[in-house]
Symmetry: C2
Subunit: 132 residues, 2 copies
DNA sequence: CCGAATCCTTCACGATACTG
DNA sequence: CAGTATCGTGAAGGATTCGG
C-alpha cells in the first residue's frame, strides 16, 4: 500500500485521492444527483428506465444510461432486467444510495435557501468590478 | 419573468436552472470545497494567499487564484489587500460561506465513512462484469 | 425498450512565462 | 507576493446512429 493510499484511507482531505474529492467528482456530474433524488423519492419502489427519463427533463438517453451504470458500478443503485422482448430495466437505490440521499438533501436545502442570494451578490460584484 | 425562472425560483430540481445543480457546479470544481474547508478551519481568522496555497497541496497558483476570485464573486469569501509592497492579500469566509460549510461537512462525513465501500464495490463489479 | 458506438464541442485544469 | 495571459490536453456531455 502506497503512502498516498494510506492517507486516502484515513480520509485525508489533502490527499489527491481524498474521498471527499472523489465523491464530489461523482455527484458533481450533471445528472447523478438528480437521478439519486428521483430514485430516492420513489424508494423503495423500482423505477423503469423510460420513467426515470420522463422524470428527468433534458437528460439524453445516452447520459441517463451512462449515469445509471456508473451508479450501479458504485453500488448505489441496483439494476434488474426483465427478460422480455423488448426488455424492461428497473432501477432502485441500494441502502448505500439511500444513505447518500441524506447529505445530498442537506446540500439541496442549502441551495434552495441561498442560491438566490448568491445570484444577487454576483450581480452586485459584476456591476462594481473593484472595491468601490 | 419566464416560466423557467419561476420554476428555478421555487427551487424546482428539474429546471435547467435548478439551484442544486448550480451549487454542485460550484462545489464540484476541483479546489473549491478544499478552499472552503481550509478557510472554515481558520475562521474567523483571515488566511493569506501563500498560506492557503501551503495548506492545499497540489493546487497551482493560477487555480487557487481562479477559485478564490470565484468564491469572492459569489459572496462566500472576502478579500482584503494590504497596500504594501509586495502586497499581502487576506481571505476569509463570509457568514454565507460559513453556512455552506455545514452541508459540505455532511458530504465530507459521508465520503469518509463510505468511499472505501464504494471502492470495494467497484472492484467487485469490475471483476464480474455481468450478473454471475 | 434499452443501450452501445461514434463524432464533435466545450470547458476545467495544468504548465509556463510574465507583471506591479 | 499575488495575479494575469497564453497555450495545450483531457474529459464531460450532447446529437446521432445502430443493435439486440
Amino acid at each position: 500500500m502506497t503512502t498516498r493510499t494510506k492517507r486516502a484511507a484515513r480520509g485525508d482531505l489533502f490527499s489527491p485521492e481524498c474521498p471527499t474529492r472523489r465523491l464530489l467528482d461523482r455527484i458533481g456530474t450533471k445528472w447523478t444527483s438528480m437521478a439519486i433524488k428521483v430514485l430516492a423519492d420513489a424508494a423503495p419502489q423500482e423505477v423503469r428506465f423510460a420513467e426515470l427519463r420522463r422524470r428527468m427533463p433534458g437528460v439524453s438517453q445516452k447520459m441517463l444510461s451512462v449515469t445509471l451504470h456508473s451508479l450501479v458500478r458504485d453500488g448505489l443503485v441496483t439494476r434488474r432486467v426483465e427478460p422480455t422482448v423488448p426488455p424492461r430495466v428497473h432501477y432502485r437505490l441500494t441502502e448505500l444510495g439511500l444513505s447518500l440521499e441524506i447529505p445530498l438533501a442537506a446540500v439541496r436545502a442549502w441551495a434552495e435557501r441561498h442560491m438566490a442570494e448568491i445570484d444577487r451578490l454576483n450581480a452586485i460584484n459584476d456591476a462594481r468590478p473593484d472595491g468601490e
